[in-house]
Symmetry: C2
Subunit: 495 residues, 2 copies
């Protein structure tokens, strides 16, 4: 019997991380690199500018180059960031960012090396450094680390360029790199993206706003849904008194801390490590039943209704866009926020749902995702839309779940698990959009009705003025004046 290394484990289970078919592997590698570039630029308050270049080389080998204008990585960190799985800054951070687990890019590096046998090239200049560096790396699976096989200085602006060669298949269509970048552009109006494939016109998504998204900050776990065992672990690793623990290591409890201590009969000055199993049980029950404040929104950075509407306006042939951002809620002690959007086309195309988690498009496994379920459970007919197979016709729909810990169904991050609170929030948000859309559609209909009514009335104005002229024996000048007065009265123009 012996221990298995994490890289060994994933090298034999690459499909868990999205590296299944050559088609999907190429998409996943691009996705991981772009996610990292967006996160690091935002961390450094730099408006992201990212280019993706894909070049089929020979046999099944495809080269992917992703270049960014972010803050770069210091040379000593490059081998770990690109060659060590479960290494990163986000896992314990408790903030909502694209990357969470320190797995993505090192998984792409591992897949690239295992499939093509070629080393990975990373060029980086950290903002604090005068010159950049270019490294050739190969991952070493048994030790979950990377070996530098070549190093040279190089001149460049700050940022990172990563070059991967891997067995991949470049395709077009709904699960292609192009479709992925189009969907990235919708929820990142502050980013400039370009996509280059040999022999084709570069595709550029221009920046639409020059404002950075709000930066999320760390937030303590919220007690609602916090597991009994997880609370025990927290209490045992804390050195505070119970009162201080409740106030400073959990969120949402602050003003209730004293009353919770009283209700459970636990001394507020007791050390957390000294609590008996029975006392912890009482404390856990009291926390579950307490009417606590919602967790602070600050660990979450939603796109906001305006941003979503702006992004949806990138879609062609849409008449209007509507969006809704919910207040934060909690699942299993973790805050999350959902946002939804609708782009109305006025046609009767089958509805299309774009799903996002922390601003990252989810392309695969829509059927098992809570966002799809929520969209299909809405009675869209109530908002004046027809509905086929659950989704409303004539709409592009957008759903976004953002959280320091999005509950994905697997490491390949394709779909979000069905927690009932998440489903509920999504449905409320879609319904809010539906009501807004109905208001817009009803108003449009009223306006159209008014226009046709006025058009109808308009044709009688000359006859009424002529009749008045005859009855009152007015001259032609007065008849015209009467006619104009009537048009004015009805808010019409004489044409």
């Amino acid at each position: 019997m012996k221990s298995v290394g994490i890289a060994e484990f994933f090298s034999k289970n690459k499909q868990f991380l999205g590296f299944t078919s050559p088609k999907r592997a190429l998409l996943t590698a691009i996705k991981e690199a772009v996610d990292n570039s967006l996160d690091s630029a935002e961390d450094a308050d730099i408006l992201p500018c990212i280019s993706v270049t894909v070049t089929p080389l020979h046999d099944d080998i495809v080269e992917v180059i992703v270049q960014d204008n972010g803050p770069g990585i210091k040379e000593e960190h490059i081998p770990d960031v690109f060659g060590k799985m479960l290494f990163g800054s986000r896992f314990f951070a408790g903030i909502s960012k694209r990357g969470q687990q320190g797995l993505g890019i090192s998984a792409a590096v591992m897949y690239a090396y295992l499939s093509s046998g070629e080393p990975i090239e990373v060029t980086s200049r950290h903002v604090s450094e005068q010159t950049g560096v270019k490294l050739l790396l190969t991952p070493h699976i048994p030790t979950n680390s990377a070996t530098i096989i070549q190093r040279e200085d190089c001149a460049r602006e700050s940022g990172i360029t990563v070059r991967l060669r891997l067995i991949g298949q470049l395709t077009e269509g709904p699960w292609s790199p192009r479709a992925y970048l189009e969907q990235v552009a919708i929820v990142n109006p502050h980013a400039e993206l370009s996509y280059n494939v040999a022999g084709a016109e570069p595709l550029v998504f221009k920046r639409m706003i020059n404002v950075m998204p709000t930066k999320p900050t760390h937030v303590n776990p919220h007690p609602h849904g916090l597991e009994f065992g997880a609370l025990i672990s927290m209490l045992h690793s804390s050195t505070s008194t119970v009162l201080k623990f409740l106030k400073t290591e959990l969120s949402g409890v602050n003003t209730r801390a004293v009353s919770i201590c009283k209700a459970t009969g636990i001394s507020s000055r007791a050390k957390t490590g000294a609590l008996s199993g029975d006392e912890i049980h009482k404390l856990h029950t009291a926390l579950q039943n307490a009417d606590l404040a919602a967790p602070p929104m600050s660990c979450i950075s939603p796109i906001g209704s305006e941003g979503i509407c702006l992004g949806l306006s990138r879609l062609t042939d849409t008449e209007c866009s509507i969006a809704d951002t919910r207040s934060p809620s909690v699942y299993s002690g973790t805050p999350f926020t959902v946002e939804t959007g609708l782009a109305y086309t006025g046609s009767d195309i089958a509805g299309v749902l774009f799903r996002y988690a922390n601003r990252v498009p989810l392309l695969y496994q829509p059927g098992s995702c809570v966002m799809t379920e929520a969209a299909k459970e809405i009675n869209w007919k109530a908002y004046g839309l027809s509905q086929t197979n659950g989704l409303p016709n004539g709409l592009f729909l957008l759903a976004h779940v953002t959280s320091p810990r999005v509950p994905f169904q697997s490491e390949s991050k394709d779909s979000v698990a069905n927690f009932s609170t998440i489903l509920h929030e999504l449905k409320l948000s879609f319904q809010a959009c539906g009501r807004q859309l109905k208001t817009v559609l009803d108003k449009e209909k009223r306006e159209q009705d008014e226009v046709s009514k006025k058009k109808y009335i308009k044709q009688f104005v000359p006859h009424v003025s002529a009749a008045l002229g005859e009855i009152l024996t007015l001259d032609e000048k007065h008849v015209t004046a009467t006619e104009n007065s009537l048009y004015d009265l009805l808010g019409l123009k004489n044409e």
Copy 2:
């Protein structure tokens, strides 16, 4: 930036391991314990005898006790087996067993502790020891280890009993512990299983055969589908000559090793570590294109057609069972075998597919599994069956994929990824069953036709004998004799 422990990673991503809803968590915990019990008994050549007891306690807490008659575990190994993730004997073994990754039972232990806050009780007596031991354990997530909080000697037969208390929900129906054990019983006719729930009659699945399944043995990787990078790693960690490497560290190459060396121009005496990138590339291409022997079957232990038919006979209201076991094949350098079975009911119920991987029933996510896809892609009408939504009516279907490395789509091991060779083998196997079934059904139909024909002829026998009697002026004795001769001739009985 820092490293994240494997247990920390999975404690925040419990849904990856099948611990989502309380209902599913209970099922997963039972599954992991039963899988381990079956594997360890088989390893020790003991016919498995396993009992599962489920008792709802209070609130949402459910107690699960799984007891086996296996070889037990030595005391010093108990904390690691139950409290350390990615620890085990199978990951590098290259044989087809239920457990592969050393994750399952330690994940169940972690979930139990985090959800209920209660320690885990393990009782074990190793076959080599005189007395047993009872340990109370709690897992310690940051260090991926378990702490012993209580220890006492205890008397018992060899084997293990594990007691978990966890937040769970006991249900009936298709995804229940009962349904799971029923499906385990079908593919494990050599095991005796019992299922006990307070207040209900124990459910016992009797042993049907007293023969152990063939024990799988280790087999080297097969080159077909072996990735370029994986070959580089193998060559670099070997100290052999190229010829010896090809003959002894890969399977299926032996007789071709010399000709492959010649074709690539690589000296058969060259050390593997001294090959250039270009030479490795040539070697890889030559191996991919060579007509190699199939990998040895010995790393795989299929159930066999007889076993499957026996198992399917546990199902009530079936008329006949048919099964097919394919020869082994290869995906990505890994051997696998598929088996399928059909149980014909003669009714027009909607078809039901039981999916298995290494004799473990897969209950969730049938839609994304290659086995479902294969069953639905068959034109069952060609075999005389009607077909609704892809599956044939009137049948229970069984599919089994066995391999040292089943390509699951996620750690929760719900569905098998769609590798084209696996899909192809499954379809061929289902088709073989389909043809067998058609032969049986056709024969039945012919026999029925013959019966009705004979019945029709039978009614003329007395008249023919009477007529012959008249023509030949026979006495009554002779007429009866003639009648009996005619019945004999037609293979009918005089009734």
